[in-house]
Amino acid sequence: MNMSGDVRYYDVRHVKGQTTHIDIDNRVIESAGTSFFSTAVIRVLGPSGWGILTIDNYTSPEGKKFELLLKSAASLAHITTEPVTLADAPHGVLAVPPMKEDPRSVSLEEKTGILGEIESSARLPGIVNTRATYIERAEQVSFVDSSANEYSFEICRSGFNIMAVASREGIVQMGYERLHSIHGLNIRHQQKMGRLAGERALSLIDAKAAAGGTMDAILDPELAGVFAHEAVGHASEGDLVHEGNSVLSGKIGERIGSSLITIVDDPSLDEFGFDPVDAEGVRVGRTKIIDRGIIGSYLHNRETLASVGQGDAGHARAMPGEPPLVRMSNTFIEEGDSTLDEMLEGINRGIILYGSRGGQVDPGRGVFQFNAEYGFLIEKGEQKGMVRDVSLSGEILSTLHSIEMCGKERKMSQGYCGKGGQSVPVSDGAPYIMLRNAVVGGSGTE
């Protein structure tokens, strides 16, 4: 391909595939079916910035037709004024881990039956609604750029969510469990997850609303993982750092937290956020964002590596048909050496929080918020009454200093992360961590 002076670089990322979805709501199979997609993003780097085309039903045109598309993208780039350059970064593709059982080899009928068993196992006495959903997404990704880098791979993600709702005397509460994987069909023999959701909903009926205030808090591995993701991960994304939208901007080499804390993002890890190569064809690997309390690296794509520096490219990710953004993948706090008992012993009055209903961050202001599924009050080192609807908010820079203990065993949880209107699969994880003087939110009073 001959490139005109208006085109310094181009790449094409074409994703096609199919999505299978099953929804069972109170025994009723509401839907069980498959949809198909094929969509592409063509990016052209013009004299200044990017011109991007997103095209549904892309048919990989060649010759003149392809040149016309490049021209069309290049003409969009004419309105850009930001001088964009791309850093060199190593290319390469990892093998996609093999699946134990390819979900596509199991009939929709059989999968619906298995999901129905999970759904019915949540239906305990006192439960008024159970709903199970299964999602399976197979993507065939192909990439080519103007430097003759080319790759293609196929990946299939699948998993399920189970929700149970309990209701008594006007109080309605829910329990929720989920499990998603890149390692193949994961819905067999999971009835225990249904029971867990049912039991949680029932116990939350009797839980009290948490009283907000400042107190010591222990976060379970799932919530501590969300903390790493919301409080640190987003603020380390190179595009936000470049825009000045991060409190971590200009802080490389500075101590921003307790020396117990090391936070890593690693898309090469065989977890739900795995990518064999990033969305710009760059090799993926481990980036240590915080190393024993000191900020070490930002997460980058090629553009932000060139403009900001101090970190690694290989963190560009995209939903099918969307332009790549700097994103997290598998983000976690590394293990420490404390036990949960030691953490509890150190708290006179506090709270232990379990599970996550998600979170959000304002990275420029440096304020985050996330919500636990449930918790228990701690009095003199012992777990007491259950509390519901409890959240935690804080300022990134002060909260990282208040981490006083870090547990021995890390656990990863799967989810989806939203940014710029795009949702990508991620995993977060951590061991138990203990925070001093955390701001805990809840609508209850003492």
Binding site: S35, V367, S393
Partner: protein, 445 residues
């Protein structure tokens, strides 16, 4: 029909091929199932994105998707594809999906109703051109320059789209949509400010958006701490939209109501809000973002009083939940894209009541909230971080507050309305005023 023109701009398929496609799919489907519905959505858009004060990215998009729904002996199947020429595979997938679905009471897809109506949510003045997006960006920057702040990011989007809905009972509807939106985010020290505007027409005010984002970033620079306690709060339309959208809307969805997932399930006819409050769906609002004469399955839309003078009056139903629970569809079926089954939603949700001056006494202003999606949709409980918390003093913005968490319950706050401001703004497909609430819980530092 005008919508074919938009389809023809996608170069992978010709106008002639598409013009007969819908009929062909319906004829093929009728041989396999009792009823079939075909939904085609597409459009084009252009956007410009700011990186600090310069445009870094300009994006053009062309989208097209085909959705098929089949009904046979009460079994509902569906599939979707964005390759309309692969419709046969899509039809087969829809039919096969229907064989697995649990059969339910079904009284048929609707037939045609009434004359062709004028477009409600489309302005032919909206042109999808990069130069117009660029102009809006420059106006926003001009507005932002009124305060000493740094612009972090911003965007300007223009889009037009078409929808076509046809079924085996003779419905063949088409409509067009347009949308213009602008947003800007600025920072001063560690104080961030975000603002946006959207409209079906070329009526957004980019300069004002830039100015307001910059104002909030500048205003909140040196906030003071606040003590935990109960306060009078003024929620902006943006904050209201987040709390209502995450909790109240799911609770009036007919399917959730009958499935045991709504706290309001037993409250029909009861007082669930301050008696001055009405919340209704107005699908016929001129230039409303969600305005439409028919819903996503061809049922004529209508005005729905969800809450009237504080009394819970009506829940929202689509055909499926209506037939299942012995209710009439309220014309509330919506699709978020071409694939999957339609769900239940609102077209233009309006929050209304007697208006007054709510800036006449000291209160905490809530510009936006962080984390509303973590609210408990069953109980309504939430605890969120406030963006740009500030005191209202002497009828204007007073001292800023550094950090404040707001904990409450969405169902309770509907009863704690202390006043509704004059004016309103459109947030997504909601039409909302500023609202003042008494005795709200703030967790300070």
């Amino acid at each position: 029909m005008r919508w074919w023109v938009a389809v023809a701009q996608n170069e992978t398929i010709s106008t002639d091929e598409l013009s007969g496609l819908v009929d062909t799919i319906i004829r093929a489907g009728e041989l396999l199932v009792e009823e079939i519905e075909v939904y085609i959505a597409g459009g084009e858009s252009v956007s410009a994105e700011l990186k600090k004060t310069k445009i870094g990215v300009a994006t053009g998009s062309k989208s097209l998707g085909l959705g098929i729904r089949t009904i046979d002996h009460g079994r509902i199947g569906s599939s979707g594809t964005n390759d309309p020429l692969a419709w046969r595979k899509c039809l087969d997938a829809a039919v096969s999906s229907g064989t697995l679905a649990t059969p339910q009471e079904w009284g048929g897809l609707p037939g045609p109703a009434g004359q062709e109506q004028p477009l409600l949510s489309f302005d032919p003045e909206v042109r999808v051109e990069a130069g117009i997006a660029e102009e809006a960006i420059n106006e926003m920057l001009k507005g932002a320059a009124e305060f000493p702040v740094q612009v972090m990011s911003g965007s300007s989007d223009l889009s037009t789209g078409f929808l076509h809905l046809a079924n085996s009972n003779g419905i063949c509807y088409s409509t067009k949509k347009s949308m213009v939106s602008v947003s800007l985010e600025a920072i001063s020290d560690q104080s961030t400010g975000y603002e946006f505007d959207q409209s079906v027409r070329m009526s957004v005010d980019p300069e004002n958006v830039g100015k307001k984002a910059a104002f909030f970033a500048h205003h909140n620079r040196s906030g003071a701490d606040i003590k935990t306690g109960n306060y009078l709060l003024v929620l902006s339309p943006m904050a209201m939209a987040q709390l209502l959208g995450n909790v109240f809307i799911p609770a009036v969805n007919g399917r959730n109501v009958h499935a045991g997932r709504s706290k309001l399930a037993q409250s029909l006819g009861q007082e669930v809000a301050d008696t001055s409050i009405s919340i209704y769906d107005d699908p016929f609002r001129i230039f409303g973002p969600g305005s439409t004469w028919w819903d996503a399955e061809g049922v004529p839309t209508r005005h729905i009083d969800i809450i009237k003078d504080g009394i819970l009056n009506e829940f929202l139903y689509d055909l499926k939940s209506g037939y299942r629970y012995g209710k009439q569809s309220t014309g509330s079926a919506l699709r978020s894209g071409y694939g999957g089954l339609p769900g239940i939603g609102y077209h233009n949700l309006v929050f209304d009541g007697p208006r007054c001056n709510i800036w006449d006494e000291p209160a905490i202003y809530v510009h936006d909230v962080v984390g509303a999606h973590t609210a408990n949709p069953m109980s309504g409980d939430f605890s969120v971080e406030i963006s740009n918390p500030s005191w209202i003093e002497n009828g204007t913005f007073g001292k800023p507050i550094r950090k404040a968490m707001y904990a409450g319950n969405v169902f309770d706050l509907l009863k704690e309305i202390d006043g509704i401001a004059k004016g309103e703004r459109i947030i997504g497909s909601m039409v909302l005023p500023e609202v003042r609430l008494g005795g709200q819980r703030i967790i300070g530092t």
